[in-house]
Amino acid sequence: MAKGIALHWRLIPRRYTLLGTECRSCGEKFFPPRQLCPNCRRGAKIKEFKFSGNGEIYSYTIVHSPPKGFEFMKPYVLAVIKLDEGPLLTAQIVDSKPEDIEIGRKVEMVFRKVIADGDSGIIRYAYKFRVKRE
């Protein structure tokens, strides 16, 4: 489904480099980014914060019945990742052996193509993760 270009463009720094935000008042870090700190509310001082891309698998599933546009990569691993700096996010795990996918396993961010809008539409890129080689 073709969508507006700005929809993807405005999120490029966030999705390409794990650029989130941080509340300088209470220290909580946010990814996905928030412009309002739920703890400090309007008293918050929000700044940009770039995450290291290191974390661990908090939960995972293997998707066998994907949504439109993701069929070519099925089955794929989707995980909730707990970043070392605190927040959790949802991402695919790639370039890893099936037997290495387990709760608690250390992972690191990689930059990958996510989906393309048909043959001539926009190609969207973002963070994915892979199991860290020990």
């Binding site: 066998h64 989707l78 949802t90 996510v114």
Partner: protein, 386 residues
């Protein structure tokens, strides 16, 4: 002391793939049945609240508040659509309750409707993902079964819940549905059937998932004074609670419990001045079989982590200590998303007035209904008493 609010009439269409029904056919039939059941006339209705998740995507139809009033022959009355994904019906019931509780109206109809099979299954899956976070979940190839699979994995990890226990929810709800003539699925499944069904999002399989369903339900609410005049078997709403949580699953404090349900349940028990052990049966939001286990824990029918165990022990069966989903639940009665919250109220009223036929829970006096939006960002809990 504020007046009580009662339900004096209920109606539902059959649930299923109803190819000969349009969106408006569904809600008109449910509403007509409810008005007939209440023994009132359409012109007695002062306002309507309608829950529907996504008529814009499923039927390319918005502005359904006026449409529903129009086809119900009620043009002129105030009509309001409310939406909270799969909890839209529960929200409509609550708005109707508040409208009467406030003293503004005496007789109000609350309806819920979803027409899901006019689009392909593929499109339906994408539409349903609108209940989650588009920017940070759906974008990564997340589906709703995947979100519940992430919760399942965590529940199994933290509590040792087994896939067999989760499968027993499907087995029980399919059995109950065979006793419900309005249910989408009228057949039993075995644990082996569930465990061998196609894998959707590991560890969840097809028979752990609720189906795509067309259907509508409606209930007529009345103030205490009017209800007593119009009916001699009123079901009273003794609690109405709504709570929210983060839109994305990954932002929750826990993946193994639905915190919005915990908050709504606590609030509801306080309003009704009762405890979980006083509940005779519950209709809970089993969009996936793990969700029933998480629901019965959140509602206080067992300790956290024990939902699988009490399911295995048969406590949640029709003849158990706390029958859960006597209707067949979302799994087997069907899940027309916006209608589900109202359909749960319909079932509770049938149970409390002794009209539930072969699935009747013995001596049912107090029932609880529990409706969830998305992966738990909204929970609505109502307690109904005879």
């Amino acid at each position: 002391m504020p007046k009580r609010v009662g339900i004096i009439g209920v109606g539902s269409t059959k649930f299923g793939e109803l190819w000969d029904y349009s969106f408006r056919d569904l809600i008109t039939e449910a509403g007509t049945k409810a008005i007939t059941d209440a023994g009132i006339d359409g012109k007695d209705i002062e306002a309507l609240y309608i829950g529907s998740m996504s008529p814009g995507l499923f039927a390319e139809q918005e502005h359904i508040s006026a449409l529903v009033a129009d086809y119900a022959g009620l043009s002129g009355i105030p009509a309001t659509r409310v939406e909270a994904a799969c909890a839209s019906g529960g929200l409509a019931l609550r708005e109707a309750y508040i409208a009467i509780k406030s003293g503004l109206f005496d007789i109000v109809v609350a309806g819920g409707v979803e027409k899901m099979t006019d689009v392909s299954t593929e499109s339906a899956m994408i539409n349903l993902m609108g209940a989650g976070d588009q920017e940070w979940e759906a974008f990564k190839g997340v589906t709703f079964p995947a979100l519940y699979a992430l919760m399942t994995r965590r529940h199994m990890f933290e509590y040792g819940t087994t896939i067999e226990q989760i499968s027993m929810v499907s087995v029980k709800n399919h059995h109950n549905a065979t006793l419900n003539p309005n249910a989408q699925f009228q057949f039993e499944v075995s644990i082996e059937d569930v465990m061998n069904s196609p894998i959707v999002a590991d560890p969840l399989r097809l028979l752990h998932c609720s189906p795509i369903t067309d259907g509508a339900s409606a209930v007529i609410l009345a103030s205490e004074e009017k209800a007593k005049k119009l009916s001699d078997e009123v079901v009273w709403i003794s609690a109405s609670a709504l709570a929210t949580d983060t839109i994305a699953l990954h932002d929750r404090k826990s993946l193994s419990r639905i915190n919005s349900s915990v908050i709504a349940a606590r609030n509801a028990y306080e309003q009704a001045k009762i405890k979980p052990k006083d509940i005779d049966f519950a209709e809970v939001h089993d969009c996936f079989s793990i969700a029933e286990i998480m629901a019965i824990e959140a509602l206080g029918f067992c300790e956290f982590g024990n939902g699988g165990k009490i399911t295995e022990d048969g406590e949640t069966a029709l003849d158990g200590s706390i029958p859960i989903n006597p209707s067949g639940g979302l799994k087997a009665k069907g899940h027309p998303v916006g209608a589900t919250g109202i359909a749960q109220a319909v079932e509770a009223v049938l149970q409390l007035t002794g009209r539930a036929g072969r699935r009747q829970v013995d001596d049912a006096e107090i029932g609880l209904i529990h409706n969830v939006g998305g992966s738990g960002a909204t929970s609505v809990v109502h307690i109904l008493e005879r």
